[in-house]
Assembly symmetry: C2
Homo-oligomer: 196 residues x 2
């Protein structure tokens, strides 16, 4: 398995951040179970209190736009069937499917963007500024800024939540994690549109 996939699984299992997961894997020489243990000991696993409970339950959220020409499906995971059946979780699953339908994300988080896509974006930004004679360090800063914007456009966790543009989808999910006390992760999503 590629390191990025192990990091992803570790994030899904613990809800810890990417950097923490990478650190944990380094500290445990790539051993998955030891990395989970490491995160728990450091108190970095969101689900640390609920030993061994990964986000493996959940719901499929669905949204069909009027006319049935656009629709989306989201797999939203939590730890227990109990939380999956709560109104908050069901509403979240539905809202996320609506988010996918309307805001058309491509990835879950910025860690899921393939390196070659990032490289192509960077080259596109560079080409746009060709001939403007900007110093290299300014160019770099502009490119980093555009890349941040790209992540906010294409990664669902970083997108503004369509029902409340002042918060991101990640903020929304964190608020439901706080309410339910369980780790909650978007596992996957898909969007269909007629003719696209």
């Amino acid at each position: 398995m590629a390191i990025s996939e192990i990091v992803k699984e570790l994030r899904q299992a613990t809800g810890a951040g990417v950097l923490d997961c990478k650190k944990a894997l380094e500290a445990s020489n790539g051993d998955f179970d030891k990395a989970v243990e490491y995160l728990r000991e450091k108190g970095l696993a969101a689900a640390a209190k609920r030993a061994g409970r990964a986000a493996k339950d959940g719901l499929i959220g669905i949204y069909v736009h009027h006319g049935s020409r656009v629709a989306a499906m989201v797999e939203l995971n939590c730890e227990t069937d109990f939380v999956a059946r709560t109104q908050e979780f069901q509403t979240l699953a539905h809202d996320l499917a609506m988010q996918v339908t309307a805001a058309q994300p491509q990835y879950i988080s910025r860690e899921d963007v393939p390196p070659e896509v990032i490289e192509a974006e960077k080259q596109k930004y560079r080409a746009q500024m060709d001939g403007q004679n900007k110093p290299e360090h300014i160019l770099d800063r502009i490119i980093e800024g555009k890349l941040e914007k790209f992540y906010q456009d294409t990664c669902i966790l970083e997108q503004p939540f369509i029902k409340d543009e002042d918060s991101t989808v990640e903020d929304l999910i964190k608020s439901i994690i706080a309410k339910t006390g369980e780790n909650i992760v978007i596992r996957r999503f898909v969007r269909y549109e007629i003719g696209q």
Copy 2:
């Protein structure tokens, strides 16, 4: 584009069978438009009467199993918005999503099964009969039979329709094509199940 993809597009555009599409492409030296013309002239394009009208309209069919732990989405294409809005077409889209949820197809038609998957299946069947000392031509016939069964299990068009196991999904679609007079094709489908 790979030849199999061109054949697929030609099938979608004309509703003609795979063999006819391959013949048409050979006769037209791989030229897509000429191949369409060829199929029309031979009367092999199902949508031949409706010159130039590919199946580009349609609906997204959705089915969510009770409890929202399994769900599926199907893009079903027809030629016009008029047919997409008929009760028959809407029911078909919904039934196909239910089919995907329950019968878990992997492919649309047998032409979509990758050659390496077919090869792996054949080797599996051969290994199962290892040591039975069957003559080679008998072995071949048994393997072909098992492969037919594999197609019927995994390709949605060949699956028995879950609401009427005496007909296949392809029969069902053909009956709606006959009723509406438009070419109808399954473009894609996806199935989500919690934890799978």
